[in-house]
Symmetry: C2
Subunit: 108 residues, 2 copies
DNA sequence: TCATTATCTTACCGTACAGTAATATGATTC
DNA sequence: GAATCATATTACTGTACGGTAAGATAATGA
């Protein structure tokens, strides 16, 4: 079930959480430790807390392997949660989103 | 100049500000007072402050007429500011955004 | 013109919430 | 049992929101 718009923006408001999502979107999946390495300024518990928020929002999924917890971005949930809000403004948008679309269709 | 992503999400994080944008996207342009009427739980100064934040972010524009200040949504700035972030995830997205696009192309 | 009213903005203050670090607890592997 | 990794809990802190009140500017009316 897609996330409520208020919830979505509350979760995405934090720069660290967005950076975590960015990181996970580049790599296939990462353990908490590896994510933590990308944030030397934060302690692991802080990372874990953000991951909990993201997981509660279903924007990431976690599978455990031994004592490691591997996180991946849930792009589908992100997309579906954002779509209702985007739809309210997309009628204005032709240029930038189309450019994005074109770029993804004709990769360099 | 498009808004920094951190700034953008910080501004959009507040539900009231998003509701103001929604309102302005429906109507052509509105005076502060009229916007305030849509938020009976808030005092006018509160609305004004949110409008200042939106204006500083260039997500709305204001023109004054006498003692009225008329606000409009700046859809172009919203689009351009959001595009860089969206582009990082759009490669995952085909379904929902395309459905949105199709819907806007073939209105009922 | 002067006072009054209307509209919007700014300043100040209190409160509530969210992020971080530190610590403790739980779970898994060796 | 010892060590490692992840999560939960607690305490601290800063910040952002909202209200009240004051300030600024413009219209109205005597």
């Amino acid at each position: 079930m897609p996330l409520d718009t208020d919830e979505l923006f509350r979760v995405l408001a934090d720069p660290t959480r967005r950076r975590i999502l960015d990181l996970l979107s580049e790599k296939e999946s990462l353990a908490v430790n590896d994510i933590g390495k990308a944030f030397p300024e934060l302690v692991t518990s802080g990372i874990s807390k953000h991951l909990m928020v993201l997981r509660a929002a279903d924007l990431v999924t976690a599978t455990r392997d031994g004592r490691h917890q591997y996180y991946s971005v849930n792009a589908k949930a992100l997309e579906e949660s954002l779509a209702p809000w985007l739809s309210k403004y997309e009628r204005y948008w032709t240029s930038a989103l189309e450019r994005l679309r074109d770029a993804s269709e004709r990769p360099a």
